[in-house]
Amino acid sequence: MDLFLQQVLNGLTLGSIYGLVALGLTLVYGILHVPNFAHGALYMVGAYVCYFTMADLGLNYWVAIAAAAVVVAAMSVICERLVFHPLRHAPPIHDKIAAIGILLFLEAVVQMYWGADFRRIASPYNQILQLGGLTLPAQRLLIIVGAFSLMGALHLYLKKTMTGATIVAMAQNREGAFLVGIDANRVAMMTFAIAGALAAVAAGLFAPINLVYPAMGHLVLLKAFVIIILGGMGSIPGAIIGGLIIGFSEALGGFYLSSTYKDVIAFVLLVVILSIKPTGLFTKGVR
């Protein structure tokens, strides 16, 4: 039983990080209508900003996460202004190519300045709680609590505030949103900023139990893609539930079946879900 609960806990940790990254991706999808490949690079830059705020400026972990969120949100907005906004009338493939370009550019810049070395963010919370036979490192609990509170906050923001409602409206129907007088530029920048901040916070939360290196974004981005396809492109509950599905399938599948095949399990799930609901679990029916 302990072993099972331990895996559930692992699944929650992974699922909440994947979910956070997928949320940003799904939000931006609502604006771009193509997956933003640069999202994984933003996640990676978030981890680096967090690392250097702590290591070089000697600031507190939470300050570092906040700094990462602000810097990456700004970068994300700059990407929107300089790259995606000028391409808004171009065919979707141009957005895709531009996004891949940003991804390669950011990775190369980071590797040029800071090298390919693995770095480690020291967690300020190194306590390990023992509950029966269950091992609960404090940082992992922090990830779960942090990620879910952020998701809750985002939900409230989108549902209860006017700006949030405009973001949802834009994602659902662009022309309709214009007709009721929504400022598309403002909403697009806002969405990119939120997506960037989410990626940076996810990186800041996850990095202390992992490593920081230029290629760290690939893996998480790949999972986030699976998640938004699984959950339905552009769907917010889809991103959260999808994140948990992938997290649990990795943890439980990896433990009870085989860690070698844990990714296979996630992809088999994807195939099964898509053959039953080809548009993903939570589709809005508008595209």
Partner: protein, 389 residues
């Protein structure tokens, strides 16, 4: 307008200065090729190996280059990225030979070595392979030199040290790439032959796993005494750290790709890797050449050098001396044939691991030193002292 004029004048002056500099140092150049991972997950490893070559080339050129039959040659390293892929390594090998005319190509992985061996004898270049897989030199390729010792030399001493100290139950939790599989294939039979048993086998993809908790807890649920871990140092450190967090008290056998000092940095200090056995980190070695090399490395770099850098640094000197001995910078066969003499021509300062011999098949041989973490300190022991032959 005046600004443009100034720019033009500066440009002309620079061009003139460069032309003159070129005229002064009219030394001949010999290109040395390198193909290895310079981007992607293994970029750090590739950069480390390449840095060894660059350091050696800089030092050789700083001392006037190499003297081949009275002509001074400067060494120029031409490096290409193969992202760890054998097929790209083969393409790079062709490019290096055809475009840069390299008599020697270095590669830091077995896949790249095998790919280059398909045509190196025909195209006439020497492969300097940084990999410890024995089969690289067992296939009779006459133009291959394998730089580090065979990894199979470690199996018996690693087994003996950990089994005597912790027990006979082994859990396999290493990585899943080719090199790790070669290790598992050699290590598991060795462990069983020594009377041990494998209670759990759960290799994990060290590059593609976001987290090792699941895999590690699966192995630990079988209660092993010793964990067999390894892959790149830093992910290995995470595996060790998470095993300790989950309550593991036994020892670790660390595959030679990972270095105990780097593993400890991530795992939470040498206390966390208590009972680990692995290859000797360069900084702990008491060879005079090792100390010299660490000093040289620290002059221009942050942090400490790895064995990859040190071995390649030595190998570059070895090639340079072999060219001098052979009296040619073109004939790969003659360069290969001159390596035995070149070994004694490389000074101890340039030979951190005290490599003394080369076998006919192209293996550079050393008396292997092994590191064990005992009471939070690194103990060094020669294989012969352990008595596991």
């Amino acid at each position: 307008m005046t600004f443009m004029k100034t720019v033009r004048r500066v440009a002309v002056a620079t061009a003139l200065a460069m032309g003159m500099a070129g005229a002064v140092q009219a030394a001949e150049k010999v290109n040395i090729g390198f193909t290895g991972p310079l981007s992607g997950g293994a970029a750090l490893y590739g950069e480390n190996t390449l840095e060894g070559l660059r350091m050696a080339a800089k030092e050789i050129n700083g001392n006037g280059g190499i003297d081949v039959d009275g002509t001074q040659y400067e060494i120029n390293i031409v490096s290409l990225d193969d992202m760890y892929s054998p097929s790209r390594a083969a393409v790079n090998g062709k490019r290096l030979v055809q475009q840069s005319n390299t008599p020697v190509v270095f590669t830091p992985h077995s896949g790249g070595t095998f790919a280059l061996q398909a045509f190196n004898e025909r195209d006439g270049f020497l492969v300097m392979s940084y990999t410890s897989i024995p089969s690289v030199t067992e296939k009779g390729n006459e133009l291959t030199v394998k730089i580090p010792p065979n990894f199979t030399d470690y199996v018996k001493p690693f087994t003996k040290l950990t089994m005597d100290r912790f027990g006979k139950k082994l859990g396999v939790a290493n990585a899943t790439h080719d090199y790790a599989k070669y290790w598992t294939k050699a290590f598991v039979p060795g462990w069983e032959a020594a009377g041990g048993e494998v209670v759990a086998s759960n290799p994990m993809d060290y590059n593609k796993s976001a987290d090792f908790y699941t895999g590690v807890s699966k192995v630990l649920s079988a209660n092993p005494d010793v964990l067999f871990v390894g892959g790149a140092s830093e992910p290995t450190g995470l595996v060790v750290r998470q095993a300790r967090e989950l309550g593991f008290k036994g020892g670790f056998v660390v595959m030679d790709q990972a270095k105990i000092d780097e593993v400890a940095n991530v795992a939470g200090g040498l206390e966390a890797v208590e009972g680990a056995v692995g290859v000797t980190p360069l900084v702990y070695s008491d060879n005079p050449g090792a100390a010299e090399f660490v000093k040289l490395y620290k002059k221009d770099h942050d942090g400490v050098p790895t064995s990859e850098t040190a071995y390649n640094y030595f190998a570059m000197f070895l090639v340079a001396r072999a060219m001098e001995e052979a009296g040619t910078v073109e004939d790969a066969k003659a360069i290969r044939a001159a390596i035995p003499q070149a070994l004694s021509a490389v000074s101890t300062n340039h030979n951190p691991y005290e490599v003394k011999n080369i076998t006919d098949s192209g293996n550079l041989a050393v008396d292997v030193e092994i590191a064990e973490v005992v009471d939070g300190k690194v103990d060094l022991r020669k294989v012969s002292e352990i008595g596991a032959e």
